[in-house]
């Protein structure tokens, strides 16, 4: 299969995924906005108002903006991982019957998650501009998105292979994601005393990028950036080579 027709197939698969995501539900595509919105309101109420407000994020009174700038990429990331993990098994009918590069099936959830995230980011940027709080550097956002995509696609490839063979992976993943949620600077800013707890997490500099691009602040330290870029490259390389090597076995086992 040529690169051109692979790209065309990826396009078809993404189109299918986008339109199938919310078919059958009455509100349809509106859910793509309503779900994050509901979570934002919930977290904002609990962590911004109920608990001593304003102390968790940067700059005092703008906790809700701080929250959104971290939550949007997190939602995209976790959705990509969960759906990417199950993608090969869910499409077993296609994998078992049609000859094609099935890593495209894993790519699709990563891509659609980024597309939905982009829509949400644009709305968020509009809100920031409207309220006059936009202080970010837009140029960093494409870089952040590309890095996020590489990390989640690479991890998804590994998880998808593992899930075909061990269905326990999904249990592990949902547990792992709830831990990771609290070990990432989403609801709060990392206090210097506890930096060591968050340093291993590539999402820490990633969140820094998104915040730098939307609500402003400082860029992550160079060491952190290098770690994130390295992590993304390694995840993609290992993911792709593992998947290619495992693919014949997947067809038999799925």
């Amino acid at each position: 299969m040529s690169a051109g027709s692979s790209a065309f197939l990826a396009y078809q698969l993404i189109k299918r995924d986008l339109s199938v995501r919310f078919t059958g539900s009455a509100l349809g595509l509106a859910w793509a906005v309503l779900q994050p919105l509901g979570l934002i309101v919930l977290y904002w109420f609990i962590f911004g108002i109920m608990l001593p407000g304003g102390k968790l994020g940067q700059g005092g009174g703008d906790y809700v903006y701080f929250l959104i700038s971290g939550l949007l990429p997190w939602l995209g990331f976790s959705e990509a991982l969960v759906r990417g993990t199950t993608s090969v098994v869910e499409n077993a009918q296609i994998v078992k019957r049609l000859p094609f590069r099935s890593e495209l099936l894993v790519l699709v959830p990563s891509a659609t998650a980024v597309i939905f995230e982009l829509v949400a980011l644009v709305l968020f940027l509009a809100l920031l501009l409207f309220t006059g709080r936009f202080q970010g550097a837009l140029w960093i956002l494409p870089i952040a998105i590309a890095l996020q995509f590489a990390v989640q696609f690479g991890l998804s490839l590994v998880l998808a292979v593992a899930y075909v063979i061990f269905r326990d992976v999904l249990q592990l993943l949902s547990f792992g994601l709830s831990v990771l949620f609290f070990l990432s600077p989403i609801l709060f800013e990392v206090r210097p005393a506890f930096e060591i707890v968050f340093r291993w997490n590539p999402l820490t500099p990633l969140m820094g990028f998104y915040r730098y691009g939307t609500i402003g602040g400082h860029l992550p330290a160079w060491g952190e950036i290098a770690y994130l870029v390295g992590f993304a490259l390694v995840a993609m390389t290992i993911g792709l080579s593992l998947f290619r090597r495992a693919q014949p076995a997947l067809v038999d086992a799925v």
Partner: protein, 396 residues
């Protein structure tokens, strides 16, 4: 092999079977084997020339679908060499990977894209695919609302209209109405004429013989025979027959009601000797011994001649309805003389039924399967052998 489109040499495929998912984990952890190996294919060699059609037959579990998957490039062989020429091999099987929530149109487009169509080809071929399916307004409805026949229509349309170098048909023509089946067969013939290579896997031996010049017979993962379809199919039929003879012995599905039993059924020739080969006089007599223990039980008898390969009932003779020929208690020997049995080549059996006089309820049954063989040329197909004469005149 210069002209081979498919070339297989010593092809094997072994599946690893784990009893429980945990076994796989334990095997990884302890490095001690916890699986069974199942050889689905073992040392299969053959080749298919460009433009040739190869039939693939064999019993369930013989490895037919595994072989097709390897050729289609979906699965990889464990050992052996497999070379295929040409880019697209489309495999046609029931449930060809459609998404149930998606419309027929979108599924067709996606399937075609998976088979490797470029955007330009898609623009050209998608309308032809949709038109061929004749699904009309249903194309915009989700595939989950389709009947299995409509599903097959869509799958077949995609598989044949993408113009694959190799078309693989796996037992797909068995559903769908007669009209569309004929359309499919016509299309396959058209593709044959255009030089496509076709691998046709089916339990319909008639279809295999008519569509394919050569046939490969797989048995327990190995090539049992490969050669001219009429010969291979005939051998396969004999094999199936032999197997049913072994398992069923000479007869029997005994009593149903308990009061009546048919104790023996035999087929004899004109002179009264047991008949194993239908002679040129085309005469056979069926003899049955029937016993009835219950007083006042009325019944009548029916005799059927059945083709052994597929249990097709070629003819059934019964005494006229309402004609209460027999009334228990008692025992009888009954003989029905069948004359002018114009049966085509094959093996045939005889079934005797005892039924209520109105013919509505079965009281007892006994099979003699297979009972005799009818001779003929290997080019014959069907049940009847009709006297015929060819006449032809060249028109000016």
């Amino acid at each position: 092999m210069p002209d081979s489109v498919v070339y297989a040499e010593g092809l094997s495929k072994t599946y690893q079977i784990y009893e429980k998912p945990a076994d796989r984990l334990l095997e990884l952890a302890t490095l001690r084997s916890r699986h069974r190996s199942f050889p689905a294919l073992a040392g299969v060699s053959f080749d298919v020339q460009a433009g040739e059609s190869l039939g693939i037959i064999g019993q369930n579990g013989a490895g037919k679908s595994t072989l097709l998957k390897l050729i289609a490039g979906v699965a990889k062989p464990t050992t052996g060499r497999l070379a295929t020429r040409g880019t697209v091999a489309s495999i046609l099987e029931l449930g060809a990977g459609f998404h149930p929530e998606f419309s027929g149109r979108d599924n067709a487009a996606l399937n075609a894209a998976i088979l490797g169509l470029s955007p330009a080809e898609m623009r050209r071929k998608l309308p032809r695919i949709l038109e061929f399916s004749e699904l009309g307004p249903f194309l915009d409805r989700p595939v989950r609302t389709y009947s299995s026949g409509m599903y097959m229509r869509l799958a077949f349309s995609v598989a044949v209209m993408v113009d694959p170098a190799v078309l693989i048909v796996d037992e797909a023509l068995s559903v769908g109405d007669g009209y569309f089946q004929k359309k499919c067969v016509d299309r396959i013939r058209q593709m044959q004429e255009m030089g496509s290579t076709i691998l046709f896997c089916s339990h319909s031996l008639y279809m295999v013989t008519t569509l394919c010049a050569r046939t490969l017979w797989l048995d327990a993962g190995k090539v049992k025979r490969i050669g001219e379809s009429v010969d291979v199919v005939h051998e396969y039929e004999s094999f199936l027959l032999e197997r049913s003879r072994r398992t069923s012995g000479e007869a029997t599905v005994g009593e149903i009601a308990g009061d009546i039993s048919i104790d023996s059924v035999e087929v004899v020739a004109f002179d009264g000797s047991p008949l194993s080969l239908l002679a040129d006089d085309r005469v056979a007599s069926v003899r049955a011994r029937v016993r009835c223990s219950r007083a006042g039980q009325r019944f009548s008898l029916a005799f059927a001649v059945v083709r052994a390969a597929d249990e097709l009932r070629c003819c059934l003779v019964r005494s006229a309805a309402g004609d209460q020929r027999f009334e228990g208690p008692g025992s009888w020997e009954v003989e029905v003389a069948l004359s002018d049995l114009r049966l085509a080549r094959g093996d045939y059996g005889v079934v005797v039924f005892a039924e209520t006089p109105d013919g509505l309820r079965l009281l007892a049954r006994r099979d003699a399967m297979p009972a005799f063989r009818a001779e003929g040329t290997r080019f014959e197909a069907g049940v009847l052998r009709l006297p015929h004469r060819w006449e032809e005149a060249r028109e000016a």
